[in-house]
Symmetry: D2
Subunit: 380 residues, 4 copies
């Protein structure tokens, strides 16, 4: 191989203002850039013939995966093995044509692996970076395994809980944002809910950590990486916030009690004998949802808040409607609504009994149709 | 990361008879295994928790790309950078479940880059390799850029001639074989034809090199790797041979003459003033096609030979029919036929003005429907 | 034409018990059979070579349309002109094969045309009528123009309010019932709602007439035909009742007041200046919905009641959820729920700015998936 | 019903030049207009509120069926019973809007029923007929049962040979013409071929009757109706002629000999013991095809002639290619080519083991793509 002698190395901060677009909620630091969330990553307009990026990753259990898109089309998807290495993004291309490049984190933030991290450190390029235009809209998606794209790739029948089955691109979040020409961010965690996780852990709730960069992570490394810092909401205000939570809160009613190993305290969302949800526990969920709406509004002043739920059934829908109603009544906030997403079917199921790519496509089509008038101002 | 202390390294020959399935035409050597053709690779049934493979690649101009499939679903696709390195195939999986693993070469043999090579050297695994069952049918596909999957991945509008836009999986060959539950091999080269290449080079023809392992390559390294050895046809006899050539022979009529730099000799498939093909030159094409059929039959005694053509239009179809007719008449060979593949459209075009994934899917659906009765014996 | 001398005339009652299946809500009389509602009609298993039916129709303004299905496939659709005449259903068929025949009323009951009526009087047949098997499930659909299939046939852009654009078959009701192997009935009226019509007429509400055979009709002829008799609910108890109302109640807020010509009284669902629904008027809608649920339960003791709404947007959804909640809380009735149907889009719009056939197909697919577990007993 | 006192009766000739468009090959007579072929009919632009047409039909065995389209969308399809009667096309429409109306004959010319005829005699209208614009292209389709749309409507499994299963609209001819914005005519007959019918009747061949208006009919009535008159080719010159014949010629090889009842002479396209076609008989087919091409060119001076075949398999394709080749060689005619249509599949089969609507749609999509450049002049 004849090495390309024109490659120049750039630490990310040196790429230039407006020329390195960072996607997803991060600390703002670029040297290196730590990526936490599903769908986070970088975007460049690279006018040159050869481009490399330097990545670094680590993990105890769950390795990160990334996808590479050139001019909007996925061309590569790979596991990022532990260590630090250079990955070639493209080579041999026409040096006078600008290519839009996106490096996207396919895997979610891993609350269960304090050793897991992914960073982009630098780029090596023989051309010129051009400005990356801002999109007209911004959307934030908040959710659980569905929003993390769990099971959207891989064969039906796969059961292992491993990062390989997570996809940021075969994902209603990416597809909805693309349909609406919106920049987007994802805040998601498998198994988590509004009040508890599917297995009744009251700490495994998204709202408690919402105000931090990536508060649901654990451990010293993540602390050092800035995961627990307050998120700078003012720096990125979405036009719409989509909340896709409730599936695990619904599951909690059907799961055994959770015991706090430290204190011995237990928690359970109780199911009545006749199969209905225990009134107090359901009310606790509704209260948590109501409070989350208040928190979302506090953090996102102008956004339309859409509770979009249903891809794995919608048993919590009445409770969600009540919570949204109570919040809207209490506050007079009119920019909040509920939308039911189409349920997964036998034909659209993916791996791990989760929605497959086809289910995500269906959901994105309906959701984009609902959100579009909200963004363009011709809605409610 | 806690390293997996149970990983055992296997040179490919040590994996065990019937447990390492090699796909595609190779020399038969496994230490290491050199992959030449589109769609070539290895297949394993790996019952364990973590698997790595060691690859080695080199190139002057055109780098190889590989895809990884787990249980039949693509999960990874990556450029293989120059050098030797270990790639993790999967980790953290259930050690008592066998996973079907395929490593597939996405890029074609590169006649234009004598420095290009790809090898799989070894595997590292903490479990047990199980036998890989043979499929009931075998199909060999012979063709040009279409069969190499050029343009089947990447954005419409991409023009660079680079390996990144080649796909073995978004490819009518893989899709047809899958629909028919057949093992398959691909012999293909962009720009080449039956008689000449699109630009009238009479040496850029597939038939001349058909009897070698990968005779269309050049250079010492490839010679050392065994590319020019005679292919062992007896060891792998297909039930069907699909010939998708003619597109570049058609293009030659519309291209300028080609000059042999060494001798100064020129070659041109001439176009008459009224836009028809020059009678002698067309006859030369037909003769070459007829001779290729004879060669194919000599090498593949029992196969149904199907000339399947048309994904980029079918101007050579009448000539192809005449050639097949002449061959059948001369030899009495009744297991040869012609099939027209659906043309690419505005909606199904991919990158580099080549058929995109949707065009390949359409073609595979029609072709599989045509070939099925030939394989099951209920056809002609 | 050689007349078929084997044709025997049957008044409908003479066809035989279990051999003439009447679909839709009717008075029970068969001599003749008067059809009122969308999707009503007859079903026969006719083992013979030639079959005719005698129909009679009349109208001042709106003519009825019927469709004919043979073995489940539509083969004919025609306007039924005023008068009495024989229509050939099939001829020249194999006399020893039984054909399943359905004659279906495509048009809704016409509250705006007291002169409109459609009757089937007799059949002429040269074969044997065989028993028609009962389907395992029964579903009743209640709704407005969407449920009447308005706009599901005809070119996008058609604006005339005429019966020709109504379809019982290109209709989510028929498609959902088919997917679930259910017999079904339709109670629907364009422009009507739960509380008022789209134009604020408080009498144009479906609940007030629900307990009669076809109470929303007017005039002496309809009275004589038995339209105002109490419906015999005991004779046909559905497993599911689908209520698709609310669209016109939502429209009322945006329409001018309605004036009772007789009394001068006006009615308007008022819109606040800020675009929200007037609290009292919205509450009136919710109360009406709540009361309708109580009425539905009174009339249909075992049915799952599903409020399915959304094919023309879902602005009334929060109010519907509140109404269902209030009803369920008050009564402890657990077999009532809400389901959001996919909204029509630019691609799926039909005639008269109503959902086209594609929108109905999408809605039926989602609705059938939701209802299926309720019917099979594996739901809630 | 309040009769419409504004209806004025028009014999067809009185509708006005350029305002009554006749589709399909007819004698040119309008008083009345006799329709023979699949897809024939009339087209009007009717600006008024109510329109009726007077039809008359007769048959010994096979009744005609018609479809009605308003603004390009089918709204009605009905059997036309024997006798003369008025059928309402539309009523109650906006009198100031012009509606495009097409009455289309769904059934083929019935060579097996000399008593079968269909005529349109008059129209009754309360508005104004506006000119019907000519389309930019004209296409003639020649074929067999596939081109007659046999089996394109009705349930899979229907076996009766009756007119009900024939459709002019769910038919690749109508769909291809629509995609190309072309006016079209159909010359077709179930079971017939180029040389013989499927059952070896040498008189059941389309070419022998091609030059007459509808020469394949029989009997005095048809003679009186002008069916045997020479067709006026000069009056309607197509831009493309699509020949979809060969399926029945292929079937003949597998069918028993046919005996001429009158003379005792037999005819059989013989199959060799090894399953190949008898050389002489195949050559007879090729000669017949070659002669038909010459006749087509004689009658249609400027048309691109496309032999499009394959919807029920393509065993005759090599013979067709040879015939086209021989013709082109002999005459130098360059505006003739062959195109393979996609084969019917298990998923796309319709009634009577014939291509269903989905197969026709697939074929039309491919055929339109092939013909388009021929029409726009950017092809060969």
């Amino acid at each position: 191989m004849r090495p390309n002698v024109n490659l120049i190395e750039y630490a990310l901060p040196d790429i230039g203002a407006g020329k390195l677009k960072v996607h997803g909620r991060t600390t703002g630091e670029l040297d290196p850039l730590t990526l936490f969330w599903t769908g986070s990553g970088i975007e460049l307009n690279a006018k040159g013939s050869e481009l490399w990026i330097e990545v670094e990753a680590g993990y105890d259990t769950y390795e990160p995966w990334i996808s590479i898109l050139i001019d909007g089309e996925p061309v590569s998807r790979q596991m990022v093995a532990a260590g630090r290495h250079w990955a070639c993004v493209f080579r041999g291309m026409n040096a006078s044509v600008a290519k839009n490049v996106r490096i996207v984190k396919d895997t979610q933030a891993m609350s269960g692996d304090p050793g897991c991290f992914l960073q982009i450190r630098a780029a090596k390029f023989d051309g010129e970076f051009l400005p990356v235009a801002e999109k007209p809209y911004r959307i934030e998606f908040i959710g659980d395994s569905i929003t993390s794209g769990e099971g959207a790739i891989g064969a039906v029948g796969e059961e292992d809980w491993i990062p390989m089955w997570f996809s940021a691109l075969r994902n209603y979040t990416a597809l909805t944002a693309e349909a609406l020409n919106a920049e987007y961010r994802v805040i998601s965690q498998s198994g988590w809910g509004v009040l508890t996780s599917w297995d009744n852990n009251p700490r495994a709730n998204v709202p408690d950590y919402y105000e931090q960069v990536c508060g649901l992570l654990q451990g010293e490394r993540n602390e050092a990486l800035g995961a627990f810092r307050p998120n700078d909401f003012a720096a990125w205000q979405p036009d719409a916030v989509v909340v896709n939570l409730g599936t695990n809160d619904g599951g909690a009613f059907h799961s055994p009690a959770w015991t706090d190993e430290a204190t011995g305290a237990t928690h359970k969302q109780r199911l009545n004998e006749d199969g209905t949800y225990h009134e107090e526990d359901l009310a606790a969920f509704e209260k948590a949802a109501e409070n989350f709406l208040a928190k979302l509004r506090r953090c996102n002043g102008k956004a339309h808040i859409v509770w979009a739920y249903g891809m794995l059934g919608a048993p919590m829908m009445p409770a969600i409607y009540r919570a949204v109603d109570a919040y809207a009544k209490r506050t007079g906030d009119r920019k909040v609504s509920v939308f039911q997403l189409p349920n997964m079917t036998e034909e659209t199921v993916g791996a791990r009994a989760h929605p497959g790519a086809a289910a995500h496509e269906r959901a994105a089509r309906e959701l984009a149709g609902y959100i579009r008038p909200l963004l363009t101002g011709s809605g409610r």
